[in-house]
Amino acid sequence: MSASPSVRPAPVARSMTLPPESLRLEGELPMAGAAVPFVEIEALRAREFIPAAKEALGSLISNRSRETLIGPVFNWAGRNSLFPLHWGLACCAIEFAAAFGARWDAERFGVVARSSPRQCDLMIVNGTVTWKVAHKLITLYEQMPEPKWVIAMGNCATGGGPFRTAYSVVPGVDKLVPVDVYIAGCPPRPEALLDGILTLEKLIRERKE
């Protein structure tokens, strides 16, 4: 239940086997078979996946092209298949659902809602966040693998909205998790949500490692 990172056990040491340098030629792909690197997925924590995958990919191509290629490739893949977490907080969740309905069809952008945080890289906070759900939101956020993004949809998620004076409401989800894109509206139209997703894609395109 506890969401605080300090309570977590220490991360398991990442074990990863790479072929010895002597077996590889510079700029050449390693041979299939014993020389192919493998990653012990179960030993990886979510935030360690990207460096490990990069290292594995980097061992396949030359040092020179690694810098120029991998970042854009990751960004291209990431921004064209943003999987938001499927959960409904409040009013904006209904507009979130409408954006996935027939008229706006958010799946045109490669946006497919998934129910498990392990499969997601985008959390759309669609509604009012109360203190009672705050630590569960942080848990879900931490369960998402890196790289991950957060969209604060609507003014409750942005700044608490009309409920920010209430005793039970978090005045803005950026007090809990880092937010990448804010969308104004109460609730925002589905078009505005799609515009937010396009803005996020622009951000990912310009992302530097």
Partner: protein
């Protein structure tokens, strides 16, 4: 069923704990009672055909608190309002959940928001607020205010 008939039906069972039955807009009548006769009143009102309990509410009048029960009779198609005044320093009353099971959650909510204790309630826990929340938000002494400035989380990459 008008107020007079209701008084005639309730008075024998309740005796002195029935304070008054008066007409009230939107209701068949408003029955005011003392908390000592709560269970008898609930049984008697239920026996008159008011089988559906719609709502339990608490109001903080600063010097005392008021607990309201709104019941509905399918035969008469009317609501009846039951109300009891409780002292502010010791607000407690017998639970109605033995007579109307639907009172269970309404009383839990009234307990945690207006701080009215329901004796012999089967399951008096926090419902809307988190466990261990010590404030009673719907009391008049609880003021709402602009939230304090909290630290904004930024991404560390």
């Amino acid at each position: 069923m008008g107020p007079e008939e209701l008084r005639a039906a309730l008075a024998p069972a309740l005796g002195p704990s029935l304070v008054g039955v008066e007409p009230f807009e939107g209701f068949a009548a408003r029955v005011r009672f003392r908390r000592e006769g709560a269970t008898e009143l609930f049984r008697a009102v239920h026996g008159l055909g008011n089988t559906h309990l719609s709502m339990v509410a608490g109001i903080d009048w600063v010097d005392h608190r008021e607990v309201l029960y709104i019941v509905w009779s399918d035969a008469a198609k009317q609501y009846t309002l039951l109300s009891a005044d409780l002292p502010a320093d010791d607000p407690h009353i017998e639970t109605a959940s033995g007579v109307w099971p639907s009172a269970n959650w309404h009383e839990r909510e009234t307990w945690e928001l207006v701080d009215i204790t329901f004796d012999h309630h089967p399951d008096l826990r926090h419902l809307l607020t988190p466990d261990g929340y010590e404030f009673r938000p719907l009391l008049r002494s609880f003021k709402i205010h602009e939230p304090e400035e909290l630290e904004v989380k930024v991404r560390h990459v």
